[in-house]
C-alpha cells in the first residue's frame, strides 16, 4: 500500500506505508477537536496549532501531508502562514485546505492565488471535509 498526494501545487510524495499526517491550524479549540476526530477516524496522524506562527514552526520540524487552515487567527493569520509555508524548503508539498467562515470572492481568490489547494467553508461536517480531502489526497 502506498500513499500519494497529487494536485496543483502539491508534489508527489514518496511511496511509503506511513499514515498521512495532518496539521490542524485554528485558534478555536472546538474546531480543532471536531476536525481531529474526523482526521483520526480516517487514519491520519494529527497535530494541532493555534495560530500560523506555531504552525510554521511545526512544519519546519515535520512537514505534514495536509494542513487544515483557518483564516482569522491571532499572531499570524492563515494567509500569512500560507505565503511563508510555500517559501519554506519543502513547503510546497503539503496540501493546504483553507477552512473558514470567510465566504467572499476576494478571500477565495487570494487563498487560491497564494497556493491553497482547496477551500472549505465553515460550518463543516465529516462529509464536507472528506469531500475536500478527496480532492487533494488520493489514497491507494
Amino acid at each position: 500500500m502506498s500513499n500519494s498526494i497529487e494536485n496543483g501545487e502539491c508534489e508527489m510524495t514518496d511511496s511509503n506505508t506511513l499514515p498521512l499526517s495532518c496539521l490542524i491550524t485554528d485558534d478555536s479549540s472546538l474546531v480543532r477537536k471536531i476536525a481531529r476526530k474526523i482526521f483520526v477516524g480516517l487514519g491520519f496522524e494529527v497535530d494541532e496549532a493555534e495560530n500560523g506562527q506555531v504552525a510554521l514552526e511545526k512544519c519546519k520540524n515535520h512537514m505534514p501531508d495536509v494542513v487544515l487552515l483557518d483564516w482569522n487567527m491571532p499572531v499570524m493569520d492563515g494567509l500569512e502562514f500560507l505565503k511563508s509555508l510555500r517559501r519554506t524548503e519543502g513547503g510546497r508539498a503539503p496540501a493546504v485546505i483553507f477552512c473558514t467562515t470567510e465566504t467572499d470572492v476576494d478571500h477565495v481568490q487570494r487563498a487560491l492565488a497564494n497556493g491553497a489547494n482547496e477551500y472549505l467553508m465553515k460550518p463543516f461536517d465529516a462529509e464536507s471535509l472528506i469531500a475536500k480531502l478527496d480532492m487533494v489526497v488520493t489514497r491507494r
Partner: protein
C-alpha cells in the same frame, strides 16, 4: 473550415454553455454577468474557474454581490476589450436567435422581433458602453414583451426559451432577494444563508445556537373554510407576532408554506423554549379580529426547538427541529417541544 469560422463556432458553443449556466443558476443577463460566464466556460482564466468552483462546491449563493465581486476581481481594464468583443458576439447571436424566433410569431411579437433585429444590426463598436446599452435594450424589450404576452396569447413562451429565462431572471433581479413577498419577513434563501453564517460563527466561538420551527395549527382548515385571502392574513399576522416576540439578534423567516423559522444565536435549549413560549402566548394574547362568518377560530401554533451541535450537518439539525415540531403536533398542538 476557415480559422475564423471555426473560432466563431467555438465561441458560439461557449456562449451557449454560458447562457445555459446562467439560466440554471438564475443569473440576471447583464454584460458583466455574460462576461463572467463566458470566460468561465471558455476556460481562459483558471483562477476564475477555480474560484467559482469553490463557491459552488461550498454552496455559496451566486448572488448579485458575489457576481459584482467576481467581475471586479477578474476583469481588469486591460482584459476588458477582449472580453467585450467576445461578449458582444454572444449577445449578437442571442439577439438574432430571439429575433428570428419572434419573426415567426404574430402581431406584438412581430414588432418585438423587428425591434430586436434593429438593435442587433447596429454597429456594436468595442466599448463596454455599447454592449451595456445593447443588453439593456434587450432586457427592456423583453420586459415589455413579458407584460404583453399575458393577453396577446402568443406562442413566444414555447418558442423562445431564452426570453422566458430572461423574464424569470428579471423578476428575480427586481424582487427583493431576501424578503418573503407576502409577509415581509426574511425568505427561505435568507434563512439558508443566515443559518450557515450563524452556525459557522458558533463553530468558531463554541457559543450556543438554537433553532425554532413554527407551524400554524390546522392551517388547511383556515384556507378551506375562510378562503386563501384569510389564510394570507393569518400568515401576515403570525409574521408580525413573531417579529415582536423575538429578541434583537434573532432571525425570523418564512421557511415555506405555513412554516416559519427563528434562528437564535447565543441561546441554549431552555432559553429557546422560553422564546417559543413567548411566541405561543403572544399569539393567544393578541388574537386576530376579522369579521367573518363563521367566526375565525383562534390561531395557534406548534413549535419545535433544537440546538446546533458543531460538526453535525446543518440538515441534520434542521431535521431534529422538524422532528420536535411534529412531536408537538402529535402531542395535541398549541405547544412547544424541545428536541
Amino acid at each position: 473550415m476557415t480559422i475564423q469560422l471555426q473560432e466563431a463556432v467555438n465561441a458560439r458553443s461557449v456562449a451557449d454553455s454560458a447562457l445555459a449556466t446562467m439560466q440554471r443558476l438564475e443569473i440576471p443577463p447583464t454584460p458583466a454577468n455574460y462576461a463572467i460566464w463566458y470566460e468561465y466556460h471558455a476556460g481562459m482564466s483558471p483562477n476564475l474557474q477555480r474560484t467559482i468552483d469553490v463557491l459552488i462546491s461550498n454552496k455559496t449563493a451566486i448572488d448579485e454581490s458575489t457576481l459584482l465581486d467576481l467581475y471586479s476581481t477578474f476583469f481588469s481594464s486591460a482584459k476588458e476589450a477582449q472580453t467585450v468583443r467576445e461578449t458582444s458576439m454572444l449577445a449578437l447571436q442571442t439577439l438574432q436567435d430571439i429575433a428570428s424566433v419572434a419573426d415567426s410569431a404574430r402581431d406584438e411579437a412581430h414588432r418585438f422581433g423587428a425591434k430586436l433585429r434593429g438593435i442587433a444590426s447596429k454597429d456594436l463598436g468595442e466599448t463596454l458602453d455599447n454592449l451595456k446599452n445593447l443588453i439593456e435594450n434587450l432586457v427592456l424589450e423583453s420586459k415589455k414583451m413579458a407584460g404583453r404576452t399575458e393577453y396577446v396569447g402568443l406562442r413566444m413562451r414555447e418558442s423562445a426559451g431564452k426570453i422566458e429565462a430572461l423574464e424569470r431572471n428579471l423578476k428575480d433581479a427586481i424582487r427583493d432577494s431576501s424578503l418573503d413577498g407576502l409577509t415581509g419577513v426574511a425568505n427561505r434563501k435568507s434563512f439558508d444563508a443566515t443559518i450557515r453564517k450563524t452556525a459557522g460563527d458558533a463553530m468558531n466561538s463554541g457559543e450556543d445556537l438554537a433553532l425554532l420551527m413554527i407551524d400554524i395549527d390546522h392551517f388547511k382548515r383556515v384556507n378551506d373554510t375562510w378562503g386563501h385571502q384569510t389564510g394570507d392574513i393569518v400568515l401576515c399576522h403570525l409574521a408580525r407576532t413573531l417579529q415582536h416576540a423575538v429578541r434583537g439578534g434573532d432571525h425570523v423567516s418564512r421557511y415555506g408554506g405555513e412554516e416559519f423559522a427563528v434562528i437564535l444565536p447565543r441561546t441554549d435549549g431552555q432559553a429557546a423554549v422560553n422564546v417559543a413560549e413567548n411566541i405561543r402566548q403572544a399569539l393567544a394574547r393578541e388574537p386576530l379580529h376579522l369579521d367573518l362568518d363563521p367566526p375565525l377560530t383562534p390561531i395557534t401554533v406548534s413549535i419545535g426547538a433544537a440546538c446546533y451541535e458543531p460538526g453535525d450537518p446543518l440538515a441534520e439539525w434542521v431535521g431534529r427541529t422538524d422532528a420536535a415540531l411534529y412531536s408537538a403536533k402529535r402531542a395535541g398542538r398549541d405547544r412547544v417541544q424541545l428536541n
